[in-house]
Amino acid sequence: MSIIVDKLNYIYSPGTAYQKHALKDINLEITEGEFIGLIGHTGSGKSTFIQHLNGLIRGTSGSIYFNGQNIYDAGYNMKGLRSKVGLVFQYPEHQLFETNVFKDVCFGPSNQGLEALQVELRAYEALKMVGIDNSLLDASPFELSGGQKRRVAIAGVLAMKPEVLILDEPTAGLDPKGRDEILEQIAKLHKENKLTIILVSHSMEDVAKYVDRLIVMNRGEVAFNDTPRKVFAHYKELEKIGLAAPQVTYVMNELRMHGLPVSIEATTIEEAKEEILRVMKH
């Protein structure tokens, strides 16, 4: 699995008063097994960009190669692409519609044209993957709690067995506990099911702990594309585009300025603690 984005541009409503250059010359490469964080301020184009990756929006110019094939080629199988690149939208619980949880999760795989038994097996597996208890399978999706609804919706995409899973702000509107649970679940999917994951967020804190690579978008352009540590080193520039590095980055920088020779590379509280202890012991 690989995705290569080559000089992708997208212009929204060209030729009208609403015209907006939403994506400008995006060049990116995503390889198998990566866990990527896509970060940007509201309106930076991150949601627009991910919808290009499964062909829901067609770029105005440029190309996207999925496994070496240009998805804009005539006759390219878009439906096939959509089952390989699973996209979970923001507030995915708003797409639930069936009479019970199990049937709703079956919607994706049955659209893939699988046999009934296969469909049910996949739905069952997917619900297990997101930690939905068997006792909830017959419940109406509208009776569940916010966090549960979201897991069911994510299962709805997982049941299609995508190779890449893209999640748009999967923690929006959840309480801290629900947020941590969802993020842990996603990290588990990455580790145990070897899924390539793109996690869209506007909170550095959320993603810093999990991702291998951070892509920062600003006004439709890729501003940074590197490991979290290296991106956070630019915390002054990040502030200018309305983002902030995790709080530990600030703490470590302050400590250093006040004469404690800590490394500023820590991105999580755990790492910061270790680093401070290490320096204090000497």
Partner: protein, 265 residues
């Protein structure tokens, strides 16, 4: 896809027409529509067309954008044209069984299509140049006399402005849900009638749920701000006629006069 429907949208540019008082535009549109069906000779069409295109020019809304709105009502055009074509009595030029085409039929069909086009262009021009809020403010103020006979004018206009406000929101929501279901392999474009109707369930159920949720939220927010209906309620920006509105009224009167005079020729 769904954004292609331009009819009834507001087009945000600054022009003389945008700045006119909504009441002037409402009255103007109604008068224009009536005028379209009042004249009976060919000069009338020329004047109505000239008036319409001048106003479009002033509005600064691109003609292409306005014409796109016609696409949504093309079925109506075909419908009326067909009826006029086959059902007008007169000199028969073509006959096949019970189907008769007359010269008068062709003429009426063409003229009726032109009139309908003007009607739709004229009325959509009003929504292109007037924000929904302004439009309902104008309506409320024009209907005020009806208050005397116990018509709840304020409530009606409040409902209208809420409905209008929700059109773009629900359109966006539809777009989003459609995409979300397409990401799950849903297919809205192919298949027979039954299959297509069935494919709408995953779209309509979430859409209704979300509409109810939004209505509930809005009602709560209005109540939290002590909304109690129109009585004693004042406006932040009350409507006031200005010089340009008077000028616009004069232009309207002039247009009507010219039409009436020409009709006598």
């Amino acid at each position: 896809m769904i954004r292609d429907i331009t009819i009834g949208q507001y087009y945000p540019v600054d022009s003389l027409l945008h700045r006119l008082d909504p009441r002037v535009k409402l009255i103007g549109t109604i008068l224009y529509i009536i005028s379209l069906f009042a004249f009976s000779n060919y000069y009338g069409y020329i004047i109505a067309a000239a008036f319409l295109f001048t106003v479009i020019k002033i509005s600064k809304v691109p003609l292409k954008f306005i014409l796109k709105g016609l696409k949504a009502v093309i079925v109506l055009f075909i419908f009326t044209a067909t009826f006029n074509l086959f059902l007008t009595p007169g000199k028969i030029i073509y006959e096949l069984g019970f189907i008769k085409i007359t010269i008068e039929g062709i003429i009426t069909a063409v003229l009726m299509t032109i009139r309908l086009t003007f009607l739709i262009l004229g009325s959509s021009l009003m929504t292109f140049t007037t924000t929904p809020n302004n439009l309902t403010d104008g309506l409320e103020s024009l209907m005020k006399p009806l208050n005397k006979i116990k018509v709840p004018v304020h409530e009606i206009s409040m409902m209208m402005s809420i409905a209008l406000r929700f059109i773009p929101i629900l359109m966006e929501e539809t777009d989003k849900i459609m995409k979300a279901q397409m990401a799950r392999g849903a297919d809205f474009e192919t298949g027979g009638l039954v299959k297509r109707a069935k494919s709408l369930i995953p779209l309509l159920v979430p859409l209704f749920v979300s509409a109810f949720r939004r209505a509930n939220d809005l009602a709560m927010a209005m109540e939290a701000r002590c909304y109690r209906g129109g009585e004693g309620r004042t406006k932040m920006k009350p409507l006031k006629y200005k010089g340009r509105d008077l000028a616009a009224f004069l232009v309207l009167v002039l247009y009507i006069t010219v039409l009436v005079v020409i009709n006598r020729v």
